[in-house]
């Protein structure tokens, strides 16, 4: 309950998603571009599913300013990201990191593709086996024998 009260105050509704304001932007366009790219990779932790670049939440704005300050101070891109991760954890990365915990995530699609390919391979091999199986494996039943007689009789006439 208490957390709902807290969240209600801080959740940024996406409708007012202005994102970056001109007053935040750095004067150096190259640096500003880096800041935008980094911001797009960082999750707004008080929002429902946005990057800090898109969000209008105050905390998102403050994080954007922080990113720019650190870039201006000379941090490289990874350094800025590492700092934010050291504060908020991996949760703040919109691109999940590749590490032990996320091996199943990044490896998953490849594993699925492999599984699918194997399944298809097995499917076709089983098909080929059935196709090769001698057709006369089971004798004709009564109905089939009658039909055969009829067809042969037909042919003769």
């Amino acid at each position: 309950m208490r957390h709902i009260a807290v969240s209600l105050l801080l959740v940024a509704f996406p409708q007012a998603a202005f994102g970056v304001n001109p007053s935040e932007m750095l004067s150096d366009p190259a640096l500003e571009l880096r800041a935008r790219e980094i911001s797009k990779e960082l999750r707004c932790v008080v929002c429902q599913n946005q990057s800090i670049d898109e969000s209008d939440a105050t905390l998102a704005r403050d994080l954007r300013v922080l990113v720019r300050e650190r870039l201006a101070a000379g941090d490289d891109d990874q350094g800025v990201i590492d700092y934010v991760v050291s504060r908020y954890g991996d949760f703040v990365l919109l691109r999940p990191p590749v590490k032990g915990a996320t091996l199943a995530l990044w490896g998953g699609p490849i594993a699925i593709v492999l599984f699918a390919l194997i399944a298809v391979f097995v499917f076709f091999r089983r098909q080929r086996q059935t196709a090769k199986a001698p057709i006369a494996a089971t004798p004709l039943n009564e109905q089939e024998r009658q039909r055969l007689q009829d067809l042969l009789a037909e042919k003769e006439h």
């Binding site: 509704f13 007053s23 999940p96 996320t102 995530l105 057709i135």
Partner: protein
Amino acid sequence: MTAEIGHFALVLALFVAVAQASLPLIGAHRGDPGWMALAKPTAILQFALVAVAFACLTHVFVTSDFSVVNVVSNSHTDKPLLYKISGVWGNHEGSLLLWVLILAIFGAAVAVFGANLPPALKARVLSIQAMIAVGFYLFMLLTSNPFDRIFPPPLNGRGLNPLLQDPGLAIHPPMLYLGYVGFSMAFSFAIAALIEGRVDAAWARWVRPWTLAAWCFLTGGIALGSWWAYYELGWGGWWFWDPVENASFMPWLAGTALLHSSTVVEKRDTLKGWTILLAIITFSLSLLGTFLVRSGVLTSVHAFATDPTRGVFILALLVIVIGGSLALFAWRGPKLVSTGLFQPVSREGGLLFNNLVMATACAAVLLGTLYPLLLDALGGGKVSVGPPFFNTVLIPLMIPMIAAMAVGPFLSWKRSDLMPALRRLRIALVLTIVAAIVTYAVHGDEPVLGVVALAMAVWLGTGVLTELAERIRLFRSPLSESFRRLGRLPRASWGMTIGHLGLAITIAGMAGAGAWKVESIQVMKPGDKVTVGGYEYRFTGAKAGKGPNYKFVGGQFTVSRHGREITKLTSEKRVYNVSQQPTTEAGIHTTWRGDLYAVIGDAEGSGGAFVTRLYFNPLVVWIWAGTLIMVFAGALSLTDRRHRVGAPHRKSSAVSLPGAQEA
């Protein structure tokens, strides 16, 4: 009084559903025609009762009856009528009522229009449909009753989130639900088939119209939601890989796979087990979506107010329905006998390849969406899986599939050769390469993905047209002959051609909007000009005003190109009276080249200067035009003769070939 009538109707509907779920099923088991025939009247009665309940809920919303809790929480007298109505389904309880209404609509439709279905199959299908309904009725009546009263009634309601007060968003849920929930019919057919132990061409033909209809609605619903996000959220984005967006995309992927694989069942009597599984999975994904949105396990913009008790109930529902159906599949699936054989390179092979990619994509989206939950449940900490993951994984999957889509229709059934098919696509290949070169020349190498995506769109589009041209013997026969052939093409064939063309257009739109969007953020005083994407935006000032239930500040822009005025755009910043919530309305001018998109921000200083965000979104309208074309194609397919003329009768003395391969 109305609320009580609605509540009572709902309870009655539950009882009717219980009857519908049991009697026809027992009748089918016993071979009792009388009991089987109960399916039709119970389905229709159930629909009538739910319709009454829904009408009652609509009535209390429209009349702003604030003695009903649901109306208090979600409505207000100031709201325009359209949004009073859409408020009915803009909340948890009301949207559940919409769910069961659509379940009942599909049930009644099959009851009335499924005249050519064998009685046993029809009975089973409607029984399964009713079982699902029973689960939802219980959920509603026990935990989420839309008709709860409050005493004393407050003077006015809390209003509806201003975000939801929008025509596009008003019809987005009904359309989406018609899709999502519509797949329940394919599910019911699949379960009925498993119970009978038989899947054949007749079954595939009977189930197709319902699957197609659901698919059309789902495609439309997703497109509507995406379009709404684009014009409402203020920066031109249209897909965010939000968990609830994914929850609608996964059934779409599975449903598209289902449409393609059921064709193989119908034409070649194979891939039966897989098709049944797909039908089960598609609806299961819809149910899963319901769980994700309403249980609080995932953070999402769409999540309804969450309550763990509801989560537990839905999970139980999921386990019973999905677990039960998959258990039935595990038990009875091996009984399904397939007789068709085919080579990997063949029409069936092409459709199988489509299914492979769609299924893998669906599984990948599922993995990404659920991973935060799975990791947290294991105590592995919190991670986020955002757009970078989904884009990285999905795009490499889609490219081979689109490449194959142009080739597939050229392959013949059972066995075919790849090289001749590719040779017939020479022109398409040349055009594709030309398109790639031109795009590269115009836009440079950033991003490469844009060039690739656009090239794929051209490949698919030209491939589809080449196939059509060949089929009508264009340039090989006199033109009149070609036209004659064109007219004689079956509608389902048209459906495929137009549908694939629609997809090509959508992909082109995604390429343009995704890769080459231009954005410019700045402060502008009246009279200032900014050039974006070759268009000149001139800010002509802002003024304040009042709407029906909000106040606004509107900014005006004049846009010109090469000195000639193109349009005037207005963007508003609104504050809604009741909730004091701010929203932004963008000023958008749509052309086939792209959208001009202007958003006014906060005032800067006092000299009439404002923050402005100006965009040029190339080709973005192609995204929705393409999906509209796909929906049209699906609808066209629905009108094909073979759905209207009676389906083939089952040969009761069918001889099964020895050596037939199982499932």
